[in-house]
């Protein structure tokens, strides 16, 4: 007959071990993915990979230059539309958002944050691509911006709210009007955090594929025309991975590695910026 105390101790130990095991199991896939990408993708990365565009199907060689540039352009377009609106909405929520309108905007932002990105894609198709008559990088940028705005709004709000009230008071007591207090003191103090939130949002949209399928469409040639279809790394990976050629699969591993490096790099950068700010190791 095991003493109840011992039974409890053993039970607790088992549960603790279980918790640790589950945690390890959860972390494992990432290690495998990173490992596989590096092992299978690194060997295909060379200078050509970064500077050449895809070659016709079935042939060997070629690269993803068009996709890398395309990712940059479309993400840039998304930031152009998404960052001002997102940050503005976030500052609104922090400064004037205590009433009913603030509640509504906050709720909508959270709801939009959970919208499937494919739905955003078909929405922009119906609303922008179809009337215009053709696919374009601009449409892709709009779809990604629509994803970015609610993300950036909420992180911006959170960062601005963190600024201590005493700073606001100090500025007001100096004779700063409310708008100047908000802009020159509060937002300025929160700026590092706002930038971090922006970086995190960029990292997320840089990897998106679904919203681009019917907006930017993809383009196997090199193009910088924002009114024409454009390729991104994510679209390239999709096409290559689901295609029939081994050569394409080889290139897909490399492209996936590059995309991962980009996204992880941005995520790490965002993390580093925060660490610099609070100074705690």
């Amino acid at each position: 007959m095991i003493a109840p105390r011992l039974r409890r101790r053993v039970g607790s130990a088992i549960m603790t071990t279980l918790v640790v095991a589950l945690c390890l199991l959860a972390v494992l896939p990432l290690l495998f993915i990173l490992g596989d990408l590096t092992v299978k993708g690194a060997s295909s990365i060379d200078w050509n990979f970064f500077t050449k565009s895809p070659v016709p199907a079935g042939q060997t060689g070629g690269g993803v230059a068009n996709a890398i540039v395309g990712t940059g352009i479309i993400v840039g377009l998304a930031c152009l539309f998404g960052l001002p609106i997102g940050i503005g909405a976030g500052v609104f929520l922090a400064e004037y958002g205590s009433g009913r309108l603030g509640w509504l905007v906050r709720f909508v932002a959270d709801v939009l944050n959970g919208t499937p990105s494919i739905v955003m894609g078909i929405f922009v198709w119906g609303w922008f691509v179809k009337p215009l008559g053709h696919f374009s990088a601009l449409a892709g940028g709009l779809a990604l911006a629509a994803l970015m705005i609610p993300m950036v709004a909420r992180t911006t709000e959170e960062m601005v709210r963190l600024v201590p009230h005493s700073l606001r008071e100090a500025a007001l007591a100096l004779g700063y009007p409310r708008w100047r207090t908000s802009l020159r003191v509060v937002v300025r103090t929160a700026l590092a955090g706002i930038v971090t939130g922006g970086l995190v949002a960029v990292a997320r949209i840089a990897g998106e594929t679904a919203p681009l399928l019917f907006t930017a469409l993809g383009n196997l040639n090199f193009s910088t025309n924002i009114l024409q279809p454009m390729q991104t790394l994510s679209l390239q990976i999709y096409v290559y991975a689901t295609g029939p050629f081994d050569e394409w699969h080889r290139l897909a591993w490399a492209a996936a590695l590059v995309l991962m490096a980009l996204v992880l790099g941005l995520a790490v950068l965002a993390r580093w910026a925060t660490r610099q700010r609070d100074g705690t190791g």
Binding site: S166, E169, A170, A173, L174, G175, R180, R188, L191
Partner: protein, 257 residues
């Protein structure tokens, strides 16, 4: 006896400060003659900080804060219908309990923060203003070589003096100090108390403090508040040696508060 109006800088007339329906300050009439230091003392919760915040129209920024009565700056009621509170705050400066330098700005930028509100000023004007303000707050010698350094690099006491410099740089008429040494060590406290004697040559000062010895050291006049009411006011020497009201004596001798 009445004083000539010209000597009066700031005065309140039956000032009542409320939060929603509760009065935190009740019908206080007080005068602050030019170039004097008036200390406001009283136990916690007696309304001294609330009263102070009425003098630069900061009270109304609190949730549910509003005011009846008058506050006269050079004879003009700052709560008058057409008066802009922002302008009032440029004429009446405030320093808070905890030092609050703007964290993203340098020492220089902190000091000129109040000046920049009015638009672009020539660099030389700003430079002069910085030196003048930092000298007035006895910080110039310590920071003159590192004006572009972040304000957060300074110690607590230095930061508070920086806040004082920031408050005097725009050239206000009145300086309100809300327990300015509460978060400082004894040396920092002493420095700021010494400053008060210097600063009153240029400004009229109202200082809220819970430290009776500080009030005795620093002020010309002392006003004793209790539960939102002004119980007694007079020359500091008189208040501390022969207070007229029993409650004042009880507070000063430490029987409560």
């Amino acid at each position: 006896m009445a004083l000539a109006d010209a000597a009066l800088h700031l005065a309140t007339e039956r000032l009542t400060a409320l939060f929603h329906r509760t009065a935190a300050v009740k019908e206080v009439s007080l005068m602050f003659p030019r170039h004097t230091v008036t200390a406001i003392i009283g136990p916690s919760g007696c309304g001294k900080s609330t009263f102070l915040r009425c003098l630069n129209r900061m009270h109304e920024l609190s949730d549910g804060g509003w005011v009846t009565g008058k506050v006269l700056l050079e004879g003009v009621d700052i709560y008058g219908g057409r008066v802009n509170p922002v302008e009032v705050r440029r004429r009446v400066g405030m320093v808070f309990q905890r030092p609050t330098p703007f964290p993203t700005m340098s020492i220089y930028d902190n000091v000129v923060a109040g000046l920049r509100v009015n638009g672009r000023l020539p660099q030389t004007t700003l430079d002069e203003a910085v030196e003048r303000a930092l000298r007035q707050s006895a910080l110039w010698d310590e920071v003159k070589d590192r004006l572009r350094v972040s304000a957060l690099d300074l110690s607590g006491g230095q930061q508070q003096r920086l806040c004082i410099a920031r408050a005097v740089a725009p050239g206000p008429d009145v300086l309100l100090l809300d327990e300015p040494t509460a978060s400082l060590d004894p040396l920092g406290t002493l420095r700021i108390e010494e400053l008060c004697h210097e600063l009153k040559r240029r400004y009229t000062i109202v200082i809220v403090t819970h430290n009776l010895q500080q009030a005795a050291r620093v002020s010309d006049y002392t006003a004793f508040f209790y539960l939102g009411e002004l119980i007694e006011v007079g020359r500091t020497k008189d208040i501390f040696t022969k207070p007229r009201v029993e409650r004042t004596e009880a507070y000063i001798t430490g029987r409560f508060g």
